[in-house]
């Protein structure tokens, strides 16, 4: 039995220990936001955070996260709120097919958590592991740079008042 924290909740699984974290999360815990793209750590569609670090969950055995904190796209923002990157993604209409975008956002969020003022070269370098076949790169870069250097997400009450207005 392998125990870890998934989006803030304690979970346990009897998946074989070499099962990639991606498949444990998708098939056992039924969180489908993290995607399979290559199974070899080459495309970044499966990116999650383990103790705050971006990881390729398609090649990470589930037993290697025992006792650690795993965050997926579903747990990136507080319930009912959006992460500033998600706001920027929508504002700039970044996604096309959308399949790679959870992984793109998770990679970008890990970058900004470590380097909140990342510049263009740093963004390009950090995001080079995430493939987008639709070619949304210019918008992904613009969205990340629009958030880099900004303090934090607007509080939910502000959003609610905008909706009411």
């Amino acid at each position: 039995m392998i125990e870890f924290t998934l989006n803030g909740a304690k979970v346990r699984t009897d998946d074989p220990p070499d099962t990639p974290l991606l498949w444990a999360v998708r098939d056992t815990f039924k969180l489908k936001g993290s995607k399979y793209g290559c199974g070899a750590g080459l495309c970044g569609a499966c990116t999650m955070h383990v103790d705050g670090e971006a990881v390729r969950s398609c090649v990470l055995p589930v037993d290697s996260v025992a006792g650690k904190a795993v965050t997926t796209i579903e747990g990136l923002a507080e319930p009912g709120a959006l992460h500033p990157l998600q706001e920027a993604w929508v504002a700039l209409s970044v996604p096309q097919c959308g399949y790679c975008q959870p992984g793109q956002i998770m990679s970008a969020a890990a970058l900004l958590a470590q380097n909140p003022n990342a510049n263009e070269a740093e963004v390009e370098s950090a995001m080079a592991g995430n493939i987008c076949r639709c070619g949304c790169y210019p918008r992904i870069k613009e969205a990340i740079l629009s958030v880099a250097g900004r303090a934090s997400a607007p509080p939910l009450e502000e959003l609610a008042s905008e909706v009411a207005s």
């Binding site: 998946d15 074989p16 099962t19 990639p20 498949w23 998708r26 098939d27 056992t28 039924k30 969180l31 489908k32 936001g33 993290s34 995607k35 399979y36 793209g37 290559c38 199974g39 070899a40 080459l42 495309c43 569609a45 997926t72 796209i73 009912g80 959006l82 706001e87 993604w89 929508v90 504002a91 209409s93 970044v94 996604p95 096309q96 097919c97 959308g98 399949y99 790679c100 975008q101 959870p102 956002i105 390009e124 995001m127 080079a128 995430n130 493939i131 987008c132 076949r133 639709c134 070619g135 949304c136 790169y137 210019p138 918008r139 992904i140 870069k141 959003l159 609610a160 905008e162 909706v163």
Partner: protein, 733 residues
């Protein structure tokens, strides 16, 4: 930008609040043969047609007839119907249409999404649908309120009477009893509130939170997972297998021989995947097994010396070359390519109590229904087909062998089955953009006018394989596989010696005024399955044609723009994008070490000119900036047009700089993104898109941005190095 963000926030809160987000696309099976469209009907709802449903609570639902693969069709088509219905597109709930003839693509006559047709084909139809329903609601309101229609207006889903806004939902019961008008007047373009305006694409939010549901995300109770081992050489068949090791893996329930190979079924994907790899399989190899890329290219080269079949003949070729002061002849190579959408192929099939459900993100949901019916033996009326978001299409998701596999496994195991292809399966067992060898010989006179254009393309044809894939879905089950194979054989013969498959040569000769021309096609087909790949034939013909034009311009002593302007007198729209891009070329801020290349191409009725700014760094081609000028008629959502041009440039750059599949003993050598690399952010140029203002009806957008980018880069590489690169992908000597 604030306005865009606010839209998204409203949608977000609405989705997480009272409205809920969990409406399921339903399907009413009303008997042995029902012609009612598959719409979730509740008492009191107003369902005037297959596309719209308005509830008494004033919720507006749109059953989107085309498939959302990233091209923005759900936002675009919703905009068309919402504009005339007079509701905000982002207030409409979008559901994927089920199978019904009313949802046919007007350009195809069947339910299919592709060929950059969707906005063009539905532009007037869906606006008419919206206008008719609005007229019916106004008539109903007039009756209920005792006022003439002329004193009423509409605004954002409301009837406005004396300044008071009354929700459409108040009038749906009355409207449902009326006969809706069939030809209500359409808005004048000057009255458009949404068409031609920028707003956040409607699917952006769900695609940024992980909530968007793709085929791979479908889960049903008792779901089992099938992983198929297929012959590494296309067309090979199963000889024998040993499954002891596979069956020993925990969770494995079945090992099943199916048409495409042998499959392992397990309760988890990972168990099925590992067990499939543990199978020991022997294959009966087909004739393709002897093929290597070297032999393929030698066969194509020999094909260039055959006469082939004639198409696109005009004038007197010999006379045309006689008038020429310069004649240039070159050969151009383009390799096989895989589509490699980020979401590998997958499908879920459940068969229970004589009825079936299939879920798959595809470019033709009717075909999914047809395939499940054929391979389960059920009548089509007993098969509910559910579309999802597509994790990329690019032509690949028009072929649904994965639906056949899931159906065969569901039948054999009596379990609900999800089949998921691996990335290796996707690269090595799929269908491909055909390889091509092209020879062009062209003449130009002293005035810089083309006098003769002779072109020959050697390669395989898409159409026979398309028929092979479509016929099992479309024909009744009584027409067996043998009959289908026989018809496909006829098609292969027809396209080799009788008629030219236009998709094999499209774009090779149409763009420029040439009084004397001849196009020939030589079919050389080794049996690797072929299909549509974003922009189809244009993906290789534009490269040949536009790099040739650059050489001819130099021979004629003209710059790239002037030469093209002189030879597009009969193509004013193409000429205009060349002119507009040409002006930008002259004003381009010049940077040391950077060089510019120009190309233009017309495809899917849309005209595009592109400029690529390129440098050579450590012997590698680096593309810094791209300008794309496009005339696609009315841009229904200009920002989505821009996004499609950006994406087409990136997709085309992957092919131009990296894309290549090799054959070794008949098998595809490449297997995943390490040896079939995709352009990454650190290689991606900036892209500026200029949309020509137009009042003409829309034309294609999803593909036309792609063909000009490879030749634009190749022409820039010539400017930088003096090397004329005539093979894709582009590699410096």
């Amino acid at each position: 930008m604030n306005g865009l963000a606010n839209v998204s926030r409203r949608r977000f809160l609405k989705a997480s609040g009272v409205a809920g987000g969990g409406l399921v696309v339903g399907f009413t099976l009303t008997g042995c043969s029902s012609s009612a469209p598959p719409v979730v009907r509740r008492e009191g709802d107003f369902v005037p047609n297959a596309f719209l449903q308005i509830t008494p609570e004033n919720r507006v639902r749109f059953y989107c007839p085309r498939d959302e693969m990233g091209q923005g069709v759900s936002t675009g088509l919703t905009t068309l119907v919402a504009e005339e219905l007079d509701v905000a597109p982002w207030d409409v709930e979008i559901l994927w249409a089920g199978v019904h003839s009313d949802y046919a693509n007007p350009d195809f006559g069947v339910q299919g999404t592709g060929g950059s047709t969707s906005i063009k084909a539905h532009y007037r139809q869906l606006r008419q649908v919206g206008a008719n329903v609005r007229a019916a609601l106004l008539e109903a309101a007039a009756g209920q309120l005792g006022r003439p229609v002329a004193q009423l207006s509409t605004d954002s889903g409301h009837v406005v009477a004396d300044g008071e806004k009354l929700p459409y939902g108040q009038f749906v019961a009355t409207a449902a009893a009326l006969e809706a008008p069939a030809d209500a007047p359409l808005k004048r373009p000057s009255d458009f509130k949404f068409i031609g305006k920028d707003f956040a694409r409607i699917d952006a939010l769900d695609k940024s939170t992980g909530a968007a549901e793709f085929g791979i995300d479908i889960d049903v109770p008792g779901l089992h997972h099938g992983v198929v081992r297929r012959c590494p050489v296309a067309g090979g068949t199963l000889k024998s297998y040993r499954d002891e090791a596979a069956r020993a893996i925990r969770g494995v329930t079945d090992v099943v021989e199916i048409g495409s190979g042998v499959a392992v079924v397990a309760d988890r994907y990972w168990a099925a995947r590992q067990a499939a790899q543990a199978l020991e399989v022997e294959w009966e190899l087909p004739s393709l097994a002897g093929l290597s890329t070297e032999r393929l290219r030698a066969d194509y080269r020999a094909g260039l010396d055959s006469d082939g079949d004639v198409d696109g003949e005009r004038g007197d070729l010999a006379a045309g070359f006689g008038q020429a002061s310069q004649v240039v002849e070159n050969e151009y190579w383009a390799p096989y390519l895989a589509h490699a959408p980020m979401e590998p192929m997958n499908a879920v099939v459940r068969i229970e109590d004589g009825e079936a459900d299939v879920w798959t993100g595809c470019q033709g949901i009717g075909a999914a229904q047809g395939l499940v019916a054929r391979y389960s033996g059920l009548d089509k009326s007993k098969v509910r087909a559910h579309n999802t978001y597509l994790g990329g299409g690019f032509g690949r998701r028009a072929t649904l062998t994965h639906v056949i596999e899931a159906t065969q496994l569901a039948v054999a195991t009596q379990k609900p089955i999800k089949v998921l292809w691996s990335r290796e399966d996707d690269i090595q067992s799929g269908l491909y953009r055909p390889a091509s060898l092209i020879r062009i010989k062209a003449g130009v006179d002293d005035a810089g006018r083309l006098t003769a254009w002779q072109a020959k393309r050697v390669g395989g044809n898409i159409m026979p394989d398309t028929l092979r894939n479509m016929m099992p879905a479309l024909l009744p089950g009584a027409v067996g596989e043998g009959a289908i194979d026989w018809m496909v054989g006829l098609a292969h013969g027809a396209f080799d010696g009788w008629v030219v498959d236009h998709s094999s040569i499209e774009g090779l000769y149409e763009d420029y005024d040439t009084a004397n021309r001849e196009v020939r096609h030589v079919t050389v087909n080794h049996g690797l399955p072929l299909t549509f790949w974003r922009s189809v034939g244009h993906s290789y013909t534009a490269f040949a044609k536009e790099t040739m034009m650059d050489e001819l311009a130099a021979k004629a002593g003209l710059d790239a723009v002037e030469f093209r302007l002189r030879n597009t007198q009969d193509k004013p729209r193409l000429q205009n994008v060349i002119r507009v891009a040409g002006e930008r070329l002259r004003q381009w801020p010049r940077h040391a070490g950077r060089h510019l290349g120009f190309a233009a191409h017309s495809s899917f009725k849309t005209d595009v000119a592109e400029i690529a700014e390129v440098s050579i760094e450590d012997g590698a081609i680096r593309v810094h900036q791209v300008l794309c000028v496009v005339d696609c008629g009315v841009a229904v959502n200009p920002d989505i047009v821009r996004a499609q041009m950006e994406g087409s440039v990136m997709y085309g750059l992957t092919a131009a700089l990296h894309g290549e599949l090799d054959l070794e003993n008949g098998a595809i050598k490449q297997s995943n993104f390490h040896d079939y690399p995709i352009l990454r952010m650190n290689e991606a140029p900036g892209v500026e898109v200029v949309i020509i203002d137009s009042a003409e009806d829309p034309t294609g957008v999803g593909e036309p941005g792609l063909p000009p980018i490879a030749p634009a880069v190749a022409n820039a590489v010539f400017a930088a190095t003096g090397q004329r690169l005539r093979s894709l992908p582009l590699r410096l000597a």
